[in-house]
């Protein structure tokens, strides 16, 4: 049965168009948030951020539906004031997880409706029942951010433009699209807004919290320490062993290897001496190229290695079906960071 969204739905899914309309109707501005009557919203907004920072998740709180809906844009406003993109990302992941948990146990029609009304995705019920079908263009607007082989289009049942998906998968796609939306907000912060003192104080509190957890979260932090060769991903190990055997490498393989080694902390000299094993080694040319990739020449940009999907396209990925960690990461450096720390990856790691 198809119904209309209730206020409880708006509290669970405050990103949806109905919630946005509702919020506009209430007409709360940034300066309103400083007023005593709205403190409770400001508090709940901070709580959302606090929970995201500390636990990596946000829980839905349905005790006061109005506060729950309004605290969502308030939290985003606070994040904008703090202006730390890594914090935005951490928060986005936490909200996305919450939304996913809510959606996967919600009614089918609602999941489908939210996908259609908020992202203009074309979704239909599968004729066989028990599934949804999503138009491939819409599917491909989100699914490539997931790395598990089951999300690859080639591993899906695709017919006449429609991709078969299960309800929990549609829930995952919606939550990912919300995550991207939140992260995108960080890219274009509004300028010239007067921030009331009360709100600025909360923002400062959020900033401090983030700073103190920064080390633990290690968002965006590059791995810095001794180079752990046993933590190299299979693709890099394979290129390296080809090189050591004296086989010639494709341009892409050379670039992937060099940029990877530079990024994990090898010196230009170390990389150049590795290439001296190749038959066509020319020290000055190689040195120039390695320095270029290291950002010491030319555009002065330090290059990062290609992503897993690019490596796959160039036939350099060898780990996907062999190494379980490979199916959870999207980038060779992420693999290295996780492995080198001897820790298991938690959720999605941003690049």
């Amino acid at each position: 049965m198809i119904g209309a969204l209730t206020k409880e739905d708006l509290a669970k899914y405050p990103f949806c168009v109905e919630a946005v309309k509702y919020i506009e109707g209430v007409g709360v501005t940034l300066s309103d948030l400083a007023k005593p009557g709205y403190r409770v919203i400001l508090r709940r907004a901070f709580e959302r951020i606090e929970s995201a920072v500390k636990l990596g998740r946000v829980r839905t709180d349905l005790t006061d539906l109005e506060v729950e809906v309004l605290s969502y844009p308030a939290a985003l406003a606070i994040l904008t004031i703090v202006g730390e993109p890594p914090l935005f990302r951490r928060y986005a992941v936490a909200e996305a997880k919450r939304i996913y948990e809510e959606l996967r146990v919600d009614e089918d029609w609602k999941v489908k409706y939210l996908a259609e009304s908020n992202f203009n995705w074309r979704i239909r019920d599968s004729s066989e029942g028990g599934f949804f079908e999503m138009f491939f263009v819409d599917y491909l607007s989100v699914a490539p951010s997931f790395h598990a082989p089951s999300w690859k289009l080639v591993n899906r049942l695709v017919s006449k433009g429609w991709v078969r998906i299960q309800k929990y998968e549609l829930a995952r796609l919606i939550s990912e699209a919300v995550r991207v939306r939140i992260v995108d907000r960080a890219k274009s912060p509004p300028s010239g807004v007067v921030v009331p003192e009360e709100v600025a104080k909360v923002a400062e509190e959020a900033r401090k919290l983030f700073q103190s957890y920064r080390k633990v979260i290690r968002i965006e932090e590059e791995y810095s320490g001794p180079v752990v060769e046993s933590a190299f991903p299979p693709c890099i190990r394979s290129i390296l062993s080809d090189l050591l055997k004296g086989s010639s490498l494709s341009h892409m393989a050379r670039f992937a290897l060099t940029s990877f080694l530079i990024n994990v902390g090898k010196s230009v000299d170390e990389v150049v001496s590795l290439f001296s094993l190749t038959a066509d080694f020319n020290e000055s040319v190689t040195r120039y190229q390695v320095e270029h990739i290291a950002g010491l020449r030319g555009s002065r940009i330090k290059y990062t290695p290609p992503s897993c999907s690019t490596l796959r396209t160039f036939g350099l990925c060898v780990g996907l079906e062999v190494d379980p960690l490979c199916s959870r990461v999207k980038h060779p450096l992420t693999y290295y960071q996780i492995k080198a720390k001897g820790k298991k990856g938690e959720g999605k790691v941003e690049q």
């Binding site: 490539p144 082989p149 289009l153 591993n155 049942l157 017919s159 433009g161 010639s248 066509d280």
Partner: protein, 411 residues
């Protein structure tokens, strides 16, 4: 400019005078690029507001090669790619015999290492086996078999992948002969225009069967009770089922052994071949009950056939959202053939070596350095080594464009 270039430019000019090259859709949003007879490198970032101004340019400049962007831009003539304002791009596919291994390449293609001089026949390897250099110069020739293979790959791409699986409509595609050894498919449907690079990579992986896991298509123990995929299933699921069926019906014990990596299982499949095929084609299909052959074995065969059932497209072209493509109905300067626009029904019957010939009348006296046996306009020529002879126009233009011949003095 050499005599040969003068000659070719004169006949190209005659072509552009009488032909009207149809402008691509939304011509005013496309970037154009050209290689001219008398100038090094490519001139690009050009813009035409109409088909009329495009044709005026072609008549005036008579390019050796002409290209247009698959992308639509706010300002196609901005010199910096980032300030062009990307609005979207057609979904394009390039099927080129250069990327498809064909047996006849040994007969008509050769390559030489620019560093050590080593040379051999067939498809050029990644690097020189003697000195490992990558500076290899390939000499490739058009041949009917290669072109036929490329055409079949194109038909497979369009019918099986683009129409049946992705639901795209033939009426929203254009097809053309590349002018050399393959075909281009441009999908200009509005729905594909804004596909990201990542999304296009997913599509190329889909079409090529890259990253496919048979266990996600029913080839796993978890699906033992529900039976194997049906031959009539859509998408890759059915394609794997049909591939498995075909492979088992014709594979030798030796081929099977290589694929399933188990001698005993291969032998059992061959012994029970009819029974296996019957189970797979029954409705609903059943896993063949051959004791000693597991789902893993069927899954290995499926992985193997996936490689054969994909379409050989050049993935770099499809994933590049700012690619310059050859402009249909212009002349390919390396062959003298017309980059002929084709309807889908024409494509099936199209023979480029006859139908894409532009210059038909007259004869030219040429000196041929080297040419393998080749066919143009229904006539077989060569092989030639260091020969001076008078050739009909189509053969002469082809060799001159390839740089394999020079004009000989009359007399």
């Amino acid at each position: 400019m050499s005599n040969e270039k003068h000659f070719l430019k004169a006949i190209f000019s005659a072509y552009y005078k009488r032909a009207t090259v149809p402008p691509p859709k939304h011509v005013e949003r496309r970037e154009f690029g050209f290689i001219l007879f008398d100038r090094e490198g490519m001139i690009r970032h050009l813009y035409f507001k109409s088909g009329k101004s495009l044709n005026e340019f072609l008549r005036r400049e008579v390019p050796l090669h002409a290209y247009f962007s698959s992308a639509y831009y706010e300002m196609p003539n901005a010199e910096d790619m980032d300030s062009k304002g990307w609005l979207g791009a057609d979904l394009v596919f390039d099927i080129d015999a250069d990327h498809i291994p064909t047996p006849c390449k040994e007969e008509h293609d050769r390559w030489v290492c620019l560093d050590c001089g080593y040379s051999s026949v067939g498809m050029a390897p990644e690097s020189c086996p003697q000195c490992k250099s990558k500076r290899l110069k390939a000499e490739t020739w058009l041949c009917e078999l290669c072109l036929e293979v490329a055409k079949n790959e194109t038909l497979k791409l369009v019918e099986d992948f683009l129409v049946a699986d992705l639901g795209l409509s033939i009426s929203e595609m254009t097809f053309n002969f590349s002018g050399h050894r393959g075909y281009h498919v441009h999908v200009h449907s509005e729905v594909v225009r804004e596909l990201s690079q990542e999304a296009r990579r997913e599509i190329t992986d889909y079409v090529r069967g890259v990253g496919i896991l048979p266990k996600l298509h029913g080839f796993s123990r978890a699906f033992m009770s529900s039976g194997p995929p049906d031959l009539a299933d859509p998408g890759w699921r059915g394609r794997l089922a049909r591939g498995l069926y075909d492979f088992i019906s014709r594979a030798s014990a030796e081929e099977l052994r290589k694929v399933v990596r188990r001698g005993k299982a291969a032998k059992l499949i061959v012994e029970h071949r009819d029974e296996v095929l019957r189970s797979l084609e029954s409705t609903p299909p059943r896993w063949p009950a051959v004791k000693g052959v597991s789902v893993l074995t069927w899954s290995r065969i499926a992985s193997h056939v996936a490689k054969l059932q994909g379409s050989f497209i050049d993935e770099r072209v499809t994933t590049d959202i700012k690619r310059l493509m050859r402009l249909p109905e212009t002349i390919h300067g390396k062959t003298g053939f017309r980059v002929k626009l084709l309807s889908f029904s024409e494509l099936e019957r199209f023979n480029p070596l006859v139908d894409a010939v532009v210059f038909r009348r007259g004869e030219v006296k040429v000196h041929v350095e080297h040419a393998p046996e080749f066919t143009v306009a229904g006539e077989v020529f060569g092989p030639y080594e260091d020969a001076t002879l008078t050739l009909p126009m189509p053969a002469a233009v082809y060799l001159l464009c390839k740089g394999a011949a020079s004009l000989a003095e009359e007399g």
